[in-house]
Symmetry: C2
Subunit: 141 residues, 2 copies
DNA sequence: TTAATATCCTATGTTATTACTAGGGTTTAT
DNA sequence: ATAAACCCTAGTAATAACATAGGATATTAA
């Protein structure tokens, strides 16, 4: 019941792009350095985010990655589902047909509620919300 | 981000005990048969529930397992944490000191919120609630 | 045109965990 | 005597997590 590093690094990379969107395309090297992840590992995570339509890339010198849409239009739920797969705590929530008990199983209802609670938090938070929180945290006080 | 079978089987075993509490001690054999789990595997799960104080055992003929306390006093959160370990989606929620970023990391806050949402559902549901739901589902209609 | 820099692709390896199965022995109470 | 809890060790097959490594290809500033 843990998120993979893929999800964590990927989310942080997205946050990094949101925070530095004024700098133009962000090269992988910068992302990797700031997030403390190897370029080679991040290089495997990035395509997932790209296929999901969250980022676009600019090749060549001074190239890098850019958010594909407004940070306010990207929910954390979508990012993490792209990286992690389904967030249901058990498979039968997504595929009730697989489980012969699902129609008559009270635990199934609870697992569904857990899934709903996770959806509530991550579906209600956009990348922009996250970036705003980060700016708040980074403020001198 | 999935519950282990240990958690699922263990929760179902607890539910089984709650539903059959009028029958006296429930032998492992019956639990295993009704839940469709091998005795040998269930035998590895039961001690966890016992150590956590949820069930007691009666040895000898006609022995078996019994809830150690009122089903209304046992939260699903406690059962699943005993079986699964911490329900935090990332380690830094439990051990902020491990992560040098935790004080200044916005994602950390979101992970904490996710944990809170899970706690809300599972901490607000007792074994008795679950049993009641099950009785409702099993009713002829 | 070329050199620098970036993306893209494929493969490999390590480690850990999960989800069991297997087989035995001991203790306890009816 | 029997049925049951209890205890112990071991093995294993599959899967996933978490990377590392090396090179191929594309782009563009100079």
């Amino acid at each position: 019941m843990k998120f993979s590093t893929r999800s964590r690094y990927g989310t942080r990379a997205m946050l990094d792009l949101a925070l530095h969107s004024d700098l133009g395309p962000i090269p992988l090297k910068d992302l990797a350095r700031r997030q403390g992840v190897s370029m080679k590992y991040l290089e495997q995570i990035i395509p997932i985010l790209k296929k999901a339509g969250f980022i676009t890339s600019v090749r060549g010198i001074n190239g890098g990655y850019v958010l594909a849409k407004d940070a306010g239009k990207i929910r954390l739920l979508d990012i993490i589902e792209a990286l992690e797969g389904s967030l249901s705590p058990v498979d039968c929530v997504d595929m009730p047909k697989w489980c012969p008990r699902s129609k008559e199983c009270a635990t199934h209802e609870v697992w569904r509620d857990v899934r709903g609670a996770i959806d509530g938090v991550l579906g209600g938070t956009t990348l922009d919300d996250l970036a705003e929180r980060q700016r708040e945290l980074s403020k001198p006080h």
